[in-house]
């Protein structure tokens, strides 16, 4: 019986502590313009990152296409190997992304 009473009391004390701590906390809340600037800054950063990633992607694509053309004519086995490897990587990427999306939705 005592065992039932003690945890209840502690829970009440916790709730009281939560209430008092909340009351005592004095925050400095930034103005709306701070949030607007932060959003603007993050959006600009996102576009910059997007451009960088696209540039890298096109650069890589160019290198790989050149490599594939070279291998197609001179080392056909290497060409086939490259094709299989890229398909495996793509499938893994697809599953990883899908898993992350499902996790975020949950």
């Amino acid at each position: 019986m005592t065992d039932e009473k003690t945890p209840k009391k502690l829970e009440e004390r916790l709730q009281e502590a939560a209430r008092h701590t909340e009351e005592q906390m004095e925050l400095t809340e930034p103005s709306l313009s701070y949030f607007e600037n932060l959003i603007e800054e993050q959006t600009a950063l996102w576009y910059r990152r997007l451009w960088f990633e696209l540039t890298c992607l096109w650069g890589m694509a160019f290198i790989f296409i050149s490599f594939l053309i070279f291998s197609f004519f001179y080392v056909p086995l290497l060409f086939v190997f490259a094709q299989i490897t890229s398909i495996i990587i793509l499938i893994r990427y697809f599953y990883k992304e899908r898993y992350e999306m499902v996790e975020m939705r949950q």
């Binding site: 009281e16 209430r19 701590t21 005592q24 809340e29 709306l32 949030f35 932060l38 603007e40 975020m104």
Partner: protein, 172 residues
């Protein structure tokens, strides 16, 4: 209304997003502050949470409350911060010393409880704060902390046990 602001923010309305973040700013700071006992850390974690919220606003699916979504991000961001801290013991000492100097320091029962709570391990303290400070149920806490419901229940139970021990130790 939150849902209206969220929908506008998801449609790309920056003004709506700014209003939404401003509205929840204090909530996040207070949550991290209560959980960690470190005011500066609370502001730092909140800043990161705001950035994540801006980046991922379109991934919010309206199934849970927006505040729950923010708390989930804040908890993970806080844990990441802690993981990055190499000298854990030094940090814990800092947390214990810092709060009494802040405006919240008053020698009273609730203060003792708060102090004792900060002495607990993260894995016990976080579910305890979410359960007894914010009133979330075990299922929500399990989702937020990405552990099983049974694990949450046992962590809350052992958290309360440890808190009780800590308070008895303080009494002596």
């Amino acid at each position: 209304m939150d849902s209206d602001l969220i929908r506008r923010a998801q449609d790309g309305n920056e003004q709506a997003l700014a209003e939404l973040l401003k509205k929840h700013y204090s909530f996040i700071v207070k949550y991290v502050w209560k959980m960690s006992g470190d005011e500066q850390l609370a502001y730092d974690v909140t800043q990161d949470v705001l950035i994540k919220a801006i980046q991922k606003i379109n991934q919010f699916n309206h199934r849970s409350k927006f505040s729950t979504w923010l708390i989930q991000m804040a908890t993970h961001t806080y844990l990441d911060y802690k993981r990055k801290q190499k000298k854990k013991k030094e940090l814990d000492e800092k947390l214990r010393k810092e709060f009494p100097h802040s405006p919240v320091s008053f020698p009273s029962d609730w203060h003792e409880v708060q102090e004792a709570l900060w002495k607990l391990e993260d894995e016990h303290r976080i579910p305890l704060v979410l359960k007894h400070y914010y009133g979330y149920d075990y299922k929500d806490i399990a989702k937020m902390t990405k552990v099983k419901v049974g694990t949450v229940k046992s962590r809350v139970h052992y958290g309360l046990e440890n808190l009780r021990k800590e308070l008895r130790t303080d009494d002596r």
